[in-house]
């Protein structure tokens, strides 16, 4: 119980720090939402007095005339009370906007993660069979080359190929016929790191006494892999995978923008451009919360998969 409370307090503290840092960073950026709004008023040329008057009125309207600490305290108090504020652009409650878009991001993140897991496992098993053999070298080169390609370039190229060959529909709502391509791109982007870590882990576990002994006792290589090697090897990948999953759900901003995927990432991109503070702040808090929660979940899952972690922790204690 005490551990749970400690964990909750730690999570809350982390969110508080993240929110303060984000608040400071967002507000230190040049310009403000009124600049953006006046900039979009194309066609109307205002005199400087009128522009100043309108600016002052809008700042008061948005509550941006108060001091920064005051703004932060108000925002935090409201956030804790469940009021995530109202988007400057859409005029809708930010929480509703986020919940409306979150399913699309979760779907894309999950699908991308599934692609990454399948690809990473396949490549790691292939490469790990004969360490430093020809297959391992080819996989290493391929993964290094993939890491070097920025995701926006990968996305744009994939879009070009897929629209030409499969008639992939670029614009539209989140749907099953549109999810596969961004999921593939996201999965491919995450695969290299996951596959390299899993491969290294597999090679290390294969060399352990119990794995060698199992083989010596006549267990088939496949059975040894499944029963004695894979399970402990998955531990380090779980942590990495957990972080990758969290970042895929909330951090696939570029992929969502390239594929016009209507998730929270795309919403955040528009919010950043318009300096829509409540949305940007809510997005970062949401992303931080997800990373923290997934991290905690991964810790738990790691102990379930490999109970030796608990034993090691007790030994250290």
């Amino acid at each position: 119980m005490r551990a749970l409370l400690r964990s909750l307090a730690g999570t809350a503290g982390m969110l508080l720090v993240a929110s303060a840092v984000v608040f400071a960073m967002v507000r230190s950026a040049p310009g403000d939402p009124v600049d953006v709004q006046l900039g979009e008023s194309g066609g109307i040329s205002l005199s400087r007095e009128d522009e100043d008057r309108i600016r002052a009125e809008r700042l008061v309207e948005l509550g941006l005339d108060r001091s920064l600490p005051e703004q932060y305290a108000l925002w935090l108090a409201r956030m804790v009370g469940g009021d995530w504020g109202t988007s400057y652009r859409t005029g809708q409650p930010v929480l509703d906007e986020m919940l409306d878009r979150l399913p699309a991001s979760v779907a894309l993140g999950t699908a991308g993660f599934a692609v990454a897991v399948v690809l990473a496992c396949g490549l790691a098993l292939l490469a790990g069979r004969r360490p430093d053999g020809p297959v391992d070298q080819v996989v290493r080169l391929a993964t290094l080359a993939t890491v070097a390609v920025p995701s926006f370039l990968l996305g744009t190229l994939a879009l070009q190929v897929a629209t030409g060959t499969t008639g992939y529909r670029i614009a539209g709502p989140a749907s099953l016929d549109r999810i596969w391509l961004p999921a593939l791109v996201l999965g491919i982007a995450v695969t290299p790191t996951m596959s390299r870590v899993l491969r290294a882990s597999l090679v290390a576990e294969r060399g352990r006494l119990y794995a060698v002994a199992a083989l010596a006792r006549g267990a088939s290589p496949g059975r040894t892999l499944l029963r004695h090697v894979l399970r402990p090897a998955v531990g380090p990948v779980l942590i990495l995978g957990g972080l990758a999953f969290a970042s895929l759900v909330t951090g696939s901003i570029i992929t969502e923008a390239v594929f016009t995927w209507p998730g929270v990432g795309l919403f955040a991109v528009d919010a950043i451009a318009a300096q829509d503070y409540p949305v940007v702040q809510a997005y970062v808090v949401l992303a931080t919360a997800l990373v923290v929660l997934v991290n905690r979940g991964v810790d738990l899952a790691g102990r379930l998969v490999d109970p030796r972690q608990d034993a090691r922790a007790e030994a250290v204690a």
């Binding site: 950026a29 040049p30 310009g31 600049d35 709004q37 900039g39 979009e40 008023s41 194309g42 066609g43 109307i44 040329s45 205002l46 005199s47 400087r48 007095e49 009128d50 522009e51 309108i54 009125e57 809008r58 988007s87 652009r89 859409t90 005029g91 809708q92 919940l99 979150l102 399913p103 699309a104 979760v106 779907a107 744009t156 879009l159 070009q160 629209t163 030409g164 008639g167 529909r169 670029i170 614009a171 539209g172 709502p173 989140a174 749907s175 099953l176 016929d177 549109r178 999810i179 923008a257 390239v258 594929f259 016009t260 209507p262 795309l266 919403f267 991109v269 528009d270 300096q275």
Partner: protein, 508 residues
Amino acid sequence: MRRILTLLVSALLASACAGGDRAADGGLTLAVAKINATLDPAEALTTSYLRAYGVGESLAKIRADGTVAPELAESIEQTAPDTWTVVLREGSRFHSGAPVDAEAVRTSLERSAAENELAGDLLEGLTVSVVDLRTLTVRSTGPAPFLDYTLSHYELQIHNVAAYRGLTAPAGPAEADLTGPFRVTGFDAEREVTLQRNPNWWGQAPTVETITVQQVADPQARAQIALAGQADIVDLLPSSAVPELREADGLTLVGAPAANTVAVYLNPASPALADERVRRALAWAVDREAVAEIAGEGLTEPAPSWLASNPAYPQADQQGFTRYDPDLAGRLLDEAGWVRGPDGRRAKDGVPLAFRLQTWGTEGPTGEVLQSQWDALGADVDLSYVDNALVQQARERGDWDAQTAAFTTLGNVPSLFSVQLSPGGSGNYGHYDLPQVAELVQRANTAADDQARTAAVLELNALHAEVVPAVPVHPRPQATAVASRVGGFAAHPLQYENLVQPGLSLGG
């Protein structure tokens, strides 16, 4: 968690089905850079979108040639130096079927002025009075020869105020009650808008039954959509995709130079740019044909003077920097004391001719070509591509030499010049103080006839070319892809007029 899972599955399944329905629908499809957040025409960031979708109308509209034509009004005429009389079309109705009478128009303008600062600014000092059911007068505090341009502004769309009364949430399709040829049937903020032909429209009914507008923010994705034929009209295409789009089958690339002039604003407080002769030299040393071809991908044209992007003043094409004249530029710099050294670079009293040029948005390529052209003149240009907010900040601090910007040139032209050249003008970045401006603006506003008015406007343009607070370069290019099956699309210098037009038709 359960809520999110339910939403997730239902959203994916429902939208998978919805996608198929829309494809079978056969209406017009549009892919645009941005969709508005609300449907309230009194919201400053909504009005131009409603206009672009053919949903909203003003009393008048600006034609492609830059002149004003009545729109929701049957006629709009200046009946006294300070008064315009507006007669509404007989029998015109809002989308809901409610009549558009003089009182409804007055109430609509009042609401816009009260709730939208930009509309309020346009209507400041004007008194709108109802004469009878179909007639209104609009009075200003002084002579107002350009009031028709003001009344044609998209911020002043006529809407049924009763439909928006008492709203506690942003307006949706149920509330959006305007007068355009299309009405909103579905609205998903910043994602998708669906439109249907308005049977109550005063004009000839559009032949297109339904329209779907989708937001595709990424410019490369929009280009891909156009190339793949996944939308009938795609706006604001990136210049990098223009060559490929030109070659593509099944679409036409329409490039209409916008009614704004991309110009390099020059700060006279900067030592290199204080001398008028240096500013003029920079303007003469611009090969505008080359800039339009390279930076604008051939979708724009040279603007020798600031007003040249306004199609209502074709005379402005003959003013200002009508040719590329590097020799004259060199002589002007020599006269000003900025002479070439053995290395080809110009300097004065040991100080090199150097300045910083900041560009932002779509004007990066223009900055690059100018840097190269001014380099040939012997000037060192330190080019940086920055965010608009940083550009503004640098201006506020006075810590800038040269910046690109594009102001509209279509509308109340003397007032637009005033903004560029008067000490308090928000477009007068260099704080130039030219005593002639107020007198010329006054002359334009009080001129007895069109000829005298045009002469005063052209004098303002000439003054701009003489002082060179900004080097005019070209109108902003507007690249729109139109599918071959779409008929009746007419290019327009105003960006928001290049989407839904009542005369559009869908062929085989």
